[in-house]
Amino acid sequence: MFIENPLNQSPWSFPILECIHIVGFAFSVGTIAIVDFRLLGLGMRHQSPPQLLEDTWIWSLVGIVVMIFSGLLLFSSDPDMYAPNPAFNFKMVVLALAILFNYTIRRKTASAEVMPPYAKIVGGTSLALWGAVVFGGIFIAFVNAALYVR
């Protein structure tokens, strides 16, 4: 390695970035899930899905942006560890699917004036995809420990 990553100079930069990463996903996954639960018919029934989407989309987007940028910085701290890690690779695949799904099928479904009959499937799929992203993220360190440390 020719250039030392300044992030690795301080033992606190990684955990602080992780905090920002977590706040980012509370914003994004948290607000996305509210619309998903509405699509599933659970909670926030005084509002229609389009109303909730209108209320939350900006916070979801802010969260996703914060999450991606802090995530890239976290990745940069030790790319050699992340790149071959199966949990990391799983996370990246489901993350790409989750974002793609979010801004295509899910947005179309949640914007519909009349909830389509498949709304529950869309809400459930979105929740499952984002849940898989979180699980993948947590498992990175544990898979790393299980596969490589010993």
Partner: protein, 184 residues
């Protein structure tokens, strides 16, 4: 006494198995975090609504009222996972300063909820009738955001405090590289 209790808890078969399985602990942790995402999102929106920053087209009563049950379910889910994690490494966490910080902040959050219960969180109809959101509600919302963020950050930091290996009686998994402790 608390130390003895912590040692006893983590020595039970349930928590020993939880600690020694390579995947149960991360599954519990992931569920904890997923709960934080869902619960955190609702806390955020509730407080941002009180600050007049989000969901301004909906009444405060509507937002707080509709999130109330879901937030409780979320909190129970997070707390259950948290207790499972605490119990599995109770002795190590007994020495961890950020565990103490986190538990203190959680206690503070309960005081916060109790203190603002009547004037803010169960007083939403009056807040809706007021020409503008009362300062008291904004203070409650800001404090809530601040304390919850502190709780999340303290929680994230727990794993970064090195355990005092010479004092521990449980085998950690995976064993830290500098570990000299053998299971007892």
């Amino acid at each position: 006494m608390i130390l003895a209790l912590a040692q006893w808890i983590q020595a039970t078969v349930f928590f020993r198995d939880l600690r020694e399985s390579w995947y149960v602990y991360p599954v519990v942790m992931s569920t904890h975090l997923l709960g934080i995402a869902l619960f955190g999102g609702m806390v955020l929106l509730t407080n941002l609504r009180l600050l007049g920053l989000a969901m301004t087209g909906r009444s405060v009563s509507d937002v707080i009222g509709q999130f109330r049950v879901a937030k409780r379910v979320g909190l129970i889910l997070i707390a259950t996972c948290g207790i499972l994690m605490l119990g599995s490494k109770a002795e190590e966490y007994y020495y961890n300063i950020l565990v103490k910080v986190k538990l203190t902040l959680l206690l503070l959050m309960f005081v916060h909820g109790w203190y603002f219960r009547r004037s803010v969180y169960y007083n939403t109809e009056e807040i809706d009738r007021a020409p503008r959101i009362p300062t008291r509600a904004k203070v409650a919302a800001s404090l809530s955001l601040l304390i919850w963020t502190g709780i999340a950050c303290a929680g994230r930091g727990i794993g970064y405090i090195d355990p005092p290996l010479s004092k521990l009686h449980a085998q950690l998994w995976p064993a830290p590289a500098n570990s000299t402790v053998t299971p007892k």
